[in-house]
Symmetry: D2
Subunit: 138 residues, 4 copies
């Protein structure tokens, strides 16, 4: 693990007071961690935009009673197995399932998988969480 | 399962042609599924805004070598156990872990959990996927 | 003006009830207008993503007392004059100005202009509103 | 104008290298300005969320040929005159108009105005740019 670098930042006093209040509300241990996170957020956005290898989670909600839905979901996940890492399945109630698919690959492939899952009859909602492999955001 | 209701929609021809192209690209089986999804998306946004019970996934990336990180993550997850359904852990490489936490509860509680996890030293990125319990989006 | 096309859409009853409630809250005259808007929203997102000619508004907030800020803003706006349509300037209070720049061109040029304005010392906030030339969303 | 405060920030070297690259691409003069902007962005999001007085721009695209559209737009703008500062109108082509409305007030009022404008028959797209009065983000 590399040693961190220390540098000076200059901000208007009022802004700093409000920043300190914000990071206290969010339970941050110090300004450096909070500033690092703001920077990493921007870098992760850029990873998704420039087509770097990324990681993400696709969250879908579906009614498992819908005809052949489970077969279709399994078929598609096999078709995309190169980018799917693992799947977590939760029974929300009698009808509704929450499935969270961890994926890793090119942004456009992960988006394609999210679109394909969302388009299946019986899938009510699909959301894509854009994260990172962590390698490029030390 | 209730019977669907059929109704007429009137759209400019050019718009319909572009919509048909868009839903073909996204593998939708038909217009009704695609229109239903657009509507459900809006309703899920509203659920998160109005404080209804929702479900979601929090995705965090961290370096497990950082001191006491695992202990802190476990502590926090226990503290929020009322809203956490389950956790999926993935080893991305030697250093980086991807952890996906499925949660269910009030939007502000889930956001609070996401903020608290993100603020821990060693957590590099946190993303929140806003989904639904599925009950209100038939 | 072309004649609209009428087609049938099939949705679960509960979803339709919630949709009708939502569009009443938003003052929509009928379902067709609301569904058309959801579709146009998706098409505008796609225009920005695929690099079509788009229109947009860049909103910046700045303190006009900051040294040479006005000169710099004017310089930059002249440099980007090919994509800037017009500028609206509002005096928010003694110190703060709100400037809204209407632009038209390639998405990456408009984003570049927004980034360049936001980076100037004295500019406190910049926001980019992604809209359309209207030609492709009849 | 108050004097800025200088403080130390500690970041991993790799992260700092990537941050410096990012801010060079965005034409930032120095790290302090870039970090200040990231913080102000978060504060503006919070202003919109907590219902503080904010400023913003509503961008609408419409076909001015549509029956009584101009009358309706004018009526609505008068109804909301308490929060509208000024309006900029641009003729995009024979049919399409771009109108940018600068507004100032409570977030929910500005959103209500945006919803109401978007719902009018003939308005093809509406976007809301969330900005600030500048007072709280020194």
């Amino acid at each position: 693990m590399e040693k961190p670098i220390r540098f000076g930042v200059s901000l208007p006093k009022d802004l700093l007071v409000k920043f300190d209040k914000l990071i206290r509300e969010k339970n941050y241990p110090n300004r450096s961690k909070a500033i690092g996170d703001l920077i990493r957020q921007e870098l992760v956005k850029k990873e998704w935009f420039t087509g770097k290898e990324v990681a993400g989670a696709i969250t879908i909600i579906y009614d498992h009673h819908k005809g052949e839905l489970l077969d279709k979901l399994t078929d598609i996940q096999h078709r995309f197995k190169k980018i799917i890492i693992s799947t977590q399945h939760i029974h929300l109630d009698e009808d509704n399932c929450l499935e969270i698919i961890a994926a890793r690959g090119k942004p456009e492939e992960i988006k394609k998988l999210a679109d394909t899952l969302r388009a299946i009859k019986g899938v009510k909602h699909g959301a894509l969480s854009m994260s990172s492999t962590g390698k490029e955001i030390e």
